[in-house]
């Protein structure tokens, strides 16, 4: 984030947070649909659940700010250091044979990135109000981190040959 794109008001900050959460919902939904199309239903269900969690964040931000559901944010380019919002799982990490363990690792990294984003704002925000609000958002993201970590502890790590498909859907003749 540059000085030009750092939030100057609570509305700016919550607008960015809203966009980040919405993009996370959209991405998890997209990933779930991707996995359903390839019959990996276990991972699809996991991504659906993550989308639901992020959806709660969206609803909470809208309620806290008194914004209507059709509110859109006009993000300045460069608001995040990465090309995508910090909480979005990169598309190119997907594999049709991935296991819940892989999906949770990606979700954990995304939640951690979101927590780091708010952590930076909590330390460098331009006003006390912004720093306090960012600290609250950081705490919520850390709750998600803990949730995903607890989930991950219950999921077995796949064998090294998890991507091996003796009958691949696509191969070069």
């Amino acid at each position: 984030m540059t000085a030009a794109t750092a939030p100057q008001t609570i509305e700016d900050l919550m607008g960015q947070a809203l966009q980040m959460e919405r993009e996370a919902v959209a991405r998890y939904t997209e990933l779930a649909e991707m996995m359903e199309a390839h019959n990996n239903l276990e991972v699809a269900a996991l991504f659906r659940q993550m989308a639901e969690y992020e959806g709660h964040h969206v609803a909470q931000i809208l309620a806290d700010m008194g914004w209507a559901e059709d509110t859109v944010t006009l993000r300045e380019p460069g608001a995040w250091a990465s090309p995508e919002a910090p909480e979005s799982v990169p598309i190119d990490e997907m594999h049709y044979l991935m296991h819940p363990w892989h999906a949770l690792q990606l979700a954990l990294a995304a939640e951690q990135r979101a927590a780091n984003f708010f952590d930076a704002l909590a330390r460098t925000g331009t006003s006390d109000g912004i720093r306090r609000a960012a600290e609250e958002m950081r705490a919520e993201e850390l709750e998600h981190v803990a949730l995903v970590q607890a989930w991950l502890a219950k999921v077995p790590k796949p064998a090294a040959d998890w991507a091996l498909d003796p009958d691949p859907p696509r191969y070069v003749d």
Binding site: E30, A37, D70, T71, T73, L74, E84, I91, D92, D173
Partner: protein
């Protein structure tokens, strides 16, 4: 409410249809679809005011995944169909989309002349340097030394350079985007749609199935260091000498845009008379 947040009639999700993509998990085309819908939302164009036209290939499935009007045409002919549509229905925003095989090989001649005609439409090419749908053959933009089972040691054939060809042929807007930067790509697509004339956006979109090494593109792409220019010669020099991973608007010109003559040369009755037996 400040200028950061506003109510809007259309959100990006409003442009996505109930038909779900069947691209390979990890394919860059997913985020191109997302960028297109975000661009349309930024422009607040009603879905019925937009037509998405394509040819054949993985990326050419894109019209079905939008709520806009769509035309999934024949291989390489997307620009011909899109041009006809725009000339017949100039009030529509016409987006033509496809891949490097469809657009630069069988559709290569249409590409040249669509640039030359400079009809007001936007052409998005999801370039992954391979024919994915037909299992990984070399395409016009494949590197000459790409070693694979179908072309051991590589084809040895020089890669097609679409951006230079577009510029030389008369395109009025030339840009390069990257699927791994969906918000940046959305902004470039929105600019392309807004710019009059033929706007060409080359979108680097990795094929994780047949070119898994393209996952590394995200480490190679970088924003264009210099702002866009309206000087075609300058743009040509920049495009010819860049590393192929320079992202941004590279040329935004003011070349004359094709305009349909307003006068009607014949009525339907006149035409029927011509063909009467």
């Amino acid at each position: 409410m400040n200028d950061m947040v506003q109510p809007a009639a259309f959100a990006a999700a409003d442009y996505k249809s109930d038909t779900k993509p069947i691209w390979c998990p990890g394919c860059g085309d997913y985020t191109v679809l997302g960028s297109l819908t975000k661009a349309l939302a930024r422009l607040q164009l009603a879905p019925h005011e937009v037509a998405v036209v394509s040819g054949i290939g993985c990326s050419s499935r894109i019209p079905a995944y939008t709520t806009c009007y769509g035309f999934h045409g024949v291989h390489g002919r997307a620009l011909a169909a899109g041009t006809g549509l725009k000339v017949a229905r100039p009030e529509l925003t016409v987006i033509v989309a496809g891949g490097d095989g469809d657009g630069y090989s069988i559709g290569g001649n249409h590409f040249l002349h669509a640039c030359r005609r400079n009809v007001d439409l936007t052409y998005l090419v999801m370039d992954n340097h391979v024919y994915g749908m037909t299992k990984g053959q070399a395409s016009p933009t494949t590197e000459p030394d790409w070693d694979n089972k179908l072309a051991p040691g590589g084809t040895g054939i020089r890669s097609f350079h679409p951006l230079v060809i577009a510029l030389a042929s008369g395109a009025n807007f030339v840009a390069r985007a990257f699927s791994g930067d969906p918000n940046g790509s959305a902004e470039i697509i929105a600019q392309a749609i807004r710019h009059p004339g033929f706007s060409f956006v080359e979108i680097l979109s990795p094929c994780v199935t047949f070119r898994p090494e393209q996952r590394q593109w995200k480490e190679r792409v970088h924003p264009a260091a210099v702002a866009e220019t309206d000087d075609a010669a300058r743009a040509a020099r920049r495009i010819m000498t860049d590393d192929g991973f320079n992202i941004g608007v590279l040329y935004a010109g003011s070349r004359p845009v094709y305009a349909r003559r307003s006068e009607t040369s014949a009525t339907t009755a006149d035409l029927e008379q011509e063909f009467a037996l």
